[in-house]
Every structure is written in C-alpha cells, then in structure tokens.
C-alpha cells in the first residue's frame, strides 16, 4: 500500500484554476521530485498536502487513512487537521526559522509543546525534556551543525538555516517530508550543502516530496518525477526516464528551455 495517495485534487484561487485533477501515489521510502516552471502549481500542491491550502476537490490518504476529503467537511475540522498535518513535514523556501530561538530550540520547540499533551508529562517532565534535547542535538549533528546548536538564526548562513529547518521538520518524524524549493533562496555556493543533506536523507530511505528547479539533482536523487505545467500533471515516471527520455512534447520543451538557461 502506498504511504500517500493523492486523488483528483483540484484547487481554484478565485476564478483561476491552479490545480486540476492531480492524482499520484508515493511508496514508503521513495523520493518524488516535482518539477515545472513557476506558476505551474507545484508549490500549491505541496501546500495542499500540508493543509496550508484547502483543495476544492479530491482526497488525500496517508497509510490508507483518508486525511482529507473535499466532499466531507468532517475531515476538515481544525482540531483534527492539527494532528493530521503531523503526517507531513514541510521545509520552506525561505526557511521560516523562529528568530528568537536558537537552532536547537527551533528543532525541539514543537516536540516539547506536543509532549505537554502526554498524560504522563508532569511525572516524567525532566526525562522527556532530556530525551527531546538529545534527539534535537543528534538531528543537528546529522545536518553537520553540531557546533551551531546555540546559534540564533541570524548568526547562521542561509544554507545552515535551511539545514536547521530540515532538522526541525524531521524532529516530528513525519511520514512524508516535503521540500518547497529548498535551495531557491540560497546563494549558488550554498545550495550544495543543502542538496547533500537531502541526498543523504534519500539514501536513508526517507519518504520525500521535493519541489525543485535543480534538474540534475532531481534526476539523481528522486525515484519518481512529476512534471507539472498549467496546474496539471503532464508527465510522471521514473526519474531518469522523465529527464533523459521525456515522452511528452511539453516536458521536452521545458527541459530544453531549462538546459539553455543553465
């Protein structure tokens, strides 16, 4: 059974249709890259998965459970949405770290807040906090930031900030980790360190959806690629095939245009 099933998602902004009949599956441990030009709907799709936008139509299932059904308002109640969105993690293009917290606090904050809802929180407070902090430090170490745990975001480079953001998303152990153009806000010399981290996550079989403009990276790291244009999925298939032997004319044009710009 796929970990994620997206069925017939449709989304309008006013009169503009930004997503049309989007359907795909994602298997556990696989990385899916979504490519396409700006305005093709990639980011909106990710935002729908993370409940930052509400699709007008369609369903989203995780591990066979219907998390969202546009036809069933009961699936859209705020209190439940909060729990459901924890199936997904999201790394933003602009990092969105919390500026008043250190790197470590950014990673542990949400987990600490969730821990307070545990029934045995009061009795095991110290133990729980120690465990959360240890895990936070370990995540930062995995991101190559062990020595930056006590730095505030403004003291970190863009690449470092984005790696903190990745650690922050991983801390809640999402079933599916989503990246929204994770390197687009970075100087070219800083993209490498972020891509390297994502690559290592892929090697560790983290289930991921990556919206990206880095074609070579998508080809090498993703298992599947979806090419979107004008709010529809034009082509999807194994990563190498889509990049090296695209079947659709629109995909070919996009890739050719992209190769020229490089």
């Amino acid at each position: 059974m796929p970990v994620l099933e997206v069925k017939n998602i449709e989304k309008h902004f006013g009169a503009t249709r930004v997503l049309e009949d989007i359907s795909f599956n994602l298997e556990k441990g696989q990385a899916l890259a979504i490519i396409g030009s700006s305005g093709s709907g990639k980011t909106t799709l990710l935002r729908c998965l993370n409940f930052l936008e509400t699709p007008d139509r369609g369903q989203i299932l995780v591990n066979g459970e219907t998390l969202f059904d546009a036809a069933d308002p009961a699936t859209q109640r705020e209190a439940e949405v909060r729990r459901k969105r924890l199936h997904f993690g999201l790394v933003f293009q602009s990092f969105n770290l919390f500026p008043q917290y250190t790197a470590l606090q950014n990673v542990t904050l949400a987990k600490e807040l969730l821990a307070k809802e545990q029934p045995d929180y009061k009795a095991r407070k110290k133990e729980i906090h120690a465990a959360i902090e240890a895990e936070g430090r370990e995540l930062l170490a995995r991101m190559g930031l062990a020595d930056r745990a006590n730095h505030y975001p403004h003291q970190l480079s863009g690449g470092q900030q984005q790696r903190v953001a990745i650690a922050r998303a991983l801390a809640l152990h999402p079933d599916i980790l989503c990246f929204d153009e994770p390197t687009s806000a970075l100087d070219p010399e800083l993209t490498g360190e972020v891509l390297k981290v994502i690559r290592s996550l892929a090697e560790q079989k983290t289930t991921m959806i990556i919206v990206t403009h880095e074609m070579a990276f998508a080809r090498d790291v993703a298992d599947q690629i979806i090419f979107m244009d004008g709010g529809v999925i034009v082509e999807q298939g194994p990563a190498h095939d889509v990049i090296e032997r695209p079947k659709q004319e629109r995909t070919r044009q996009f890739l050719a245009r992209y190769a020229q710009e490089r």
Binding site: L109, A110, Y152
Partner: protein, 212 residues
Amino acid sequence: MLLSVTLTLLEGLGATLKLFALTLLFALPLGLVIALGAMSRLTPLRWFVSMVVWVVRGTPLMIQILIIFYGPGLLFDLPLLPRFGAALLSFVINYACYFSEIYRGGIQSIPRGQYEAGEVLGMTRSQIFFKVTLLQVIKRIVPPMGNEFITLVKDTALVRVISVYEIIWMGESYIKKGMIWPLFYTAVFYLVVNGILTLLFRWAEKKLDYFR
C-alpha cells in the same frame, strides 16, 4: 522656599504619575482587544472598531476629556463622574486607540511564514501566538511604545481643563506670587520622569537585541 516648592510639586507629580500608571494599566490590555477587533474576520466589527479608532485619534484629547466629564450631565441628566475618574476614562480610551494601532502594526508585520511554520509543526493558534509571534511583536513595538509613554506623561497636564490638579497646575500657582523658577523646576521633574522611561525602553530594546 525650595523645600516648600519641592513638596508642592511632588504632590502634583503624584497626581500626574497616578494618572500615567492607571492609564497604562487599563489602556495596554484594552488596546490589544481593540487591535484584535480591527483585525477581525467579521467585517462589521472591523468597520465599527476602525471608525471608533478614527474618531478618537482624529479629535483632540482635550475635547474628549470635556465631553466625558460634562456630557453625561448635560446630555442625559446623569450625575457627573468624579473629576479624576472622568480624566482617567478619557485617557484610557484615547491611549488604548493609539496602542491598538501600534499592536496592529506589530502583529501585521510578522511574516506569514512564521505562522505557517508553526502550523505545519502542529502548533495550536494560541501556541503560535504565545511561543512564536508574541516576542517578535514585542520587539517591534517597543520603540513606538516608548514614544507613546513619553507623550502620555506630558499629556497628563490636559486634565486641568476639568480642574484635576497635577504638577503644572502646582508650578503655575507660583506665577501669581511673581515666581517663574518653579515652572522651570516643574520641567525638570518631567525631564527626570521621561529620562527614566527612556532608559527603561533602551534597556528593553537591548534585551531584545539578541535576535532579529
């Protein structure tokens, strides 16, 4: 002479500071309520609140004091409010409206990404407000609040229009006796109070300087 003037002015300063402190006590929270109203999703409420803020900020505080003190009696035959109470009420309404605009500006200057980051991490609305945005808002509103506090100290002198005695009234009383220096002395009291406020706000800004 110096001692007697000092004691008289200190008495006036007491009234001034009492009005200052009580205005802050009530206007700071009321301002937040007004700010939330001005940002409400309910359009009629938003309009109503914006209208009130516009009127209060657009008319002189002195008129508001006079209307609140004399209005109930002249319009509705109600008993007058105590003078100090009427003065305090006018100040609270007036300053709450100014504070509300500062709060609103501060809250709206927080990038949407901060809220969204909190949301995707499973935080509740109140957790996002208290744990993520509040301190960022405070950092942004400290400088404009400092201005308002200092203006408030000086505005308290307006209450003389309904014969509430404060420090300038006391200082001025010596003019009849042919003395001008107590008025300069009064100004020194203001400078000291506002100097302390300036230092406090500078300290707060510095405290919040550890993040951007």
